[in-house]
Amino acid sequence: MTSPPARLPRERPIDARAFDLLSLTMALVLGLHSPHLPWWLGGALALILGWRWWQRRRQAGRVPRWLKLPLLVLLTLAVIVQYGNIFGREPGTALAVGLLILKLLETETARDVRVGISFACFALMAALLFDQGLIATVVVALGLLPALATLRALEPGQLPSSLPRALLPGLALSAAALPLALLAFLLVPRLSSPLWGAPSQDQARTGLGDSMTPGNFTDLLTDDHPAMRVSFDGAPPPPDRRYFRAYVMWNFDGRSWRQLDPRYAPPRQPAPLEVASSIRYQISLQPTRRRVLPMLDVPLQAPAQATLQADHEVMADKPVNDQLNYAARSALQYRLQPSLDERSRRLGLRLPADFNPRTHALAAQWRQRYGGDDAAIVQAALGLFHDGGFRYTLAPAPLGRDSVDDFLFDTHEGFCEHYSSAFTVLMRAAGIPARVVTGYQGGYWNKYGNYLLVRYSDAHAWSEVWLAGRGWVRVDPTGAVRPERVSLGAAAAAGDQLSWYRNDWLQGLRNRWDIVNRWWDQGVIGFDALRQRGLLTPFGIRDADTATLGVLLAISSVLFIAIGLAWALLRRQPRDPLRGALRELERKLARKGIARRPAEGPQHYLSRAARALPGQRDELASLMRSYLELRYAHDEPPTEPLRAFLHAVRDFRIVNVVK
């Protein structure tokens, strides 16, 4: 075969294939970044990309400078106008993606393409700073395929292949590189503290806030992302006991509930707790950027690097910026603070003056009717919610200044925040110490993965009232209106909206998918320095510091490279079918005791065999003739006789004859 020789000038223009692949890579990068780019910027960049691809297809050539320069200025201005500056994650990425697309306008030579591809690889990685979920990572990794294919397309002198086939070798290369990549991933020493800047705030969902204003959970209750996953030692608690406490809120200003201001609330010992039964469990918490660690019901102690607060809230020493795993023990049957101190009683009864007069009147009326029976007043309030025409909805009517009055006597619609807030105000007005607790309630028991999946939509608020002799008792007024909220979750309680989304088999699929996500979150995203050390402990390395890891990384890389070299040096001997056939014949004869001697040529050997097996003398003589003919009469044995010889050898059977 004669390949057409190609003369190669220094800076040759690239061919259409390389440019197509480059455009594909750029389009992928743009697509990956489009969710967090302003829509107009993404659209404009997509237009530029498409136009340039079309223009380059018609006729190779650079885009004139009078077009490029204003576009560059326009891009920078747009980013500054949108974000205020060009530094930071969002503006930086927007600028980088924009520059990448503009680079396409002046891409004509191999050098330009290489610069573009390097930059695209960087932009691909930057996409992971926004979302490091499994799908996003896989899509980004697939983005490497067109990038690698583009680099391949730059090499001159190739065997022709179709565009889809051009992507395959990159896949093979990546697959071959995967073991080394995983090893490096496991062993690369992690930084104990960031070298620069902390990741920006919105990298993680914020989840529950440390204040509660009726109506502000709405976003949270429609967010189906996992908040945490809980696995229990032993059986999980029944659905109506799955209350995860995050914040305890005492302060009410007429509109919002807040925690006690730490400036005015001196640290106290955790409230005394009498425990009847407890349960052990492990929580894997998604990053929240807050310090609070949600705990089942009333926690007995705090995990490491966290403290148990007076009201049995658990606060980590620093905000949870990465996925956090912790083990805990909680009481399910308990008496919390059987005797209430004076300060807590005062806090638990405090209400802002001149708010909600009708609520106060109703509470006074109840107090008058039931006398000193606090439990009866609680029941009366729950009865009111149950029979008073209240409706559970995630889109309630707005409330005025006297928010509790408006809710109780006018709108009659709301969700957990409204009910717990109104209930707590009612209790305080009636003289019963009460407070609001927020956290999560419910969750989905994933029986395939044996864990409880708690989503942001499981956020919940309830009340605790202090009853003499029983301590703080949890009362969930939402349950009085919608018992399914407690047994099935917020979305079920909100009625039949999004029914297709709640479809059974789809749910099943989503829950199975969550197992994969959990594996990804725990195995990959949650793989930190601590887990890295834990990985090496079984191999007898107790204290894996950076130097040890570096040495290990070097040793194992060398090992992998040695394996790779062995592959590279492997040379397959050209197969010789004739020799193989002779070997087979030798084996057959050797079984009958006629082995070929080391110094014996084929002719001598086969003659000897023919003498030893007189019954098959003719057959062996014919085989020998064929062999000698095929081996020595031609440079290459001709195909047809060769095939005949192979068949003859295969069919050759030694007939047992009595000598």
Binding site: M1, T2, S3, P5, A6, R7, L8, A110, R114, S118, C121, F122, L124, M125, L128, L129, Q132, A136, T137, A141, L144, L148, L151, R152, L154, E155, P156, G157, Q158, L159, G170, L173, S174, A176, A177, L178, P179, L180, A181, F185, V188, R190, L191, P194, L195, W196, P199, D322, V524, I525, G526, D528, I561, G564, L565, W567, A568, L569, R571, P574
Partner: protein
């Protein structure tokens, strides 16, 4: 500066052959094996590794494991591409080199025949500063044509050839030197103008028109054709008369080109003149003989004869 560098390189190759990977000429076929393939990262490869480093530090800084995984994957793929580059050259075999004819000053066409047991992409051969890229499909030999610049007549040894590749990603460059022990013969350059050779005394005989006596073809009868040329037997099977057409050779000069008759010129001028005469004789499809010191070539014609004469001229001391 360039000259100095080249002198330095030549000196280093002479004194430190192992370090400079200088190889003595060797006989064909040459098969590349691991001992003679060298790999270094390309400029792009160095830049790319800096990029990988930046990505690594970024991923570690933000404790973003997905980004770290991606960086590791890209890095490992780059490392694997080094092995692929090596494998593109390993086992490549230069079977033989066929040289064409060229006069001094014109490029000489070399045909290199490569074999390989498997398909290979983007193999490049450098000769001086010219590069040819080609692919091997792994089944049959591949012929690659290279132009070798020539300066003067005579035997010219083949220069070193660099076989290299930066397949697949352009990150690494693997190369090997081939120095085939083979020389090519470059024909002398003809002078541009000068006198015609003298015709020998008995040239008149050769110049006389004479009828060839070989039967060339049959053609239709034209008025005036001699009767004895009519092919009666063939005409009997045909509508009209056919005439045996005999070859009518042109008046061909029988040139006797003689070195001794060009006294008063120096060697190279004589060779250049003889070369021009040979060219002219060949262009006129003439008949000629050549006398050279120590080498007498009897009369003949045709391209083989021409090549024979030119080669003899080229090899004159």
């Amino acid at each position: 500066m360039r000259d100095l560098l080249q002198r330095l390189q030549r000196w280093a190759e002479r004194r430190l052959p192992a370090l400079t990977r200088y190889r003595r000429p060797e006989s064909l076929p040459i098969e590349l094996h691991r001992r003679r393939i060298y790999i270094v990262p390309t400029g792009f490869g160095l830049g790319f590794s800096v990029l990988l480093l930046v990505m690594l530090v970024g991923a570690l800084n933000y404790a973003n494991n997905a980004a770290l995984l991606l960086t590791c994957l890209l890095g490992a793929a780059s490392a694997a591409s080094m092995l692929v580059a090596f494998r593109s050259l390993d086992g490549l075999r230069l079977g033989h080199i066929r040289a064409g004819h060229a006069v001094a000053g014109q490029p000489l066409e070399l045909t290199l025949t490569f074999d390989s047991g498997r398909p290979r992409n983007a193999i490049r051969v450098d000769l001086d500063d010219r590069t040819i890229a080609f692919a091997l499909n792994g089944r049959a030999s591949t012929h690659v044509k290279l132009a070798l610049p020539t300066a003067q007549r005579g035997w010219q040894p083949l220069p070193r050839l660099r076989v290299w590749t930066s397949w697949p990603l352009g990150l690494f460059r693997a190369w090997s030197w081939l120095h085939p022990e083979q020389s090519v013969l470059v024909w002398p350059r003809a002078e541009t103008a000068g006198p015609q050779p003298h015709a020998p005394a008995d040239d008149a005989r050769h110049m006389r028109l004479h009828r060839g006596d070989e039967l060339a073809a049959l053609r239709d009868y034209r008025a005036g054709d001699p009767q004895r040329h009519i092919a009666w037997k063939a005409s009997a099977r045909h509508e009209n008369l056919l005439v045996k057409d005999f070859e009518q050779p042109q008046s061909r000069p029988q040139w006797q080109l003689d070195w001794r008759r060009l006294g008063g010129l120096d060697n190279e001028a004589r060779i250049a003149r003889l070369a021009r005469w040979l060219n002219e004789a060949q262009a006129q499809r003439g008949h000629y003989s050549l006398w050279l010191p120590g080498n007498e070539i009897p009369g003949g014609s045709g391209p083989l004869h021409y090549a024979h004469c030119m080669s003899a001229l080229a090899q004159l001391p």
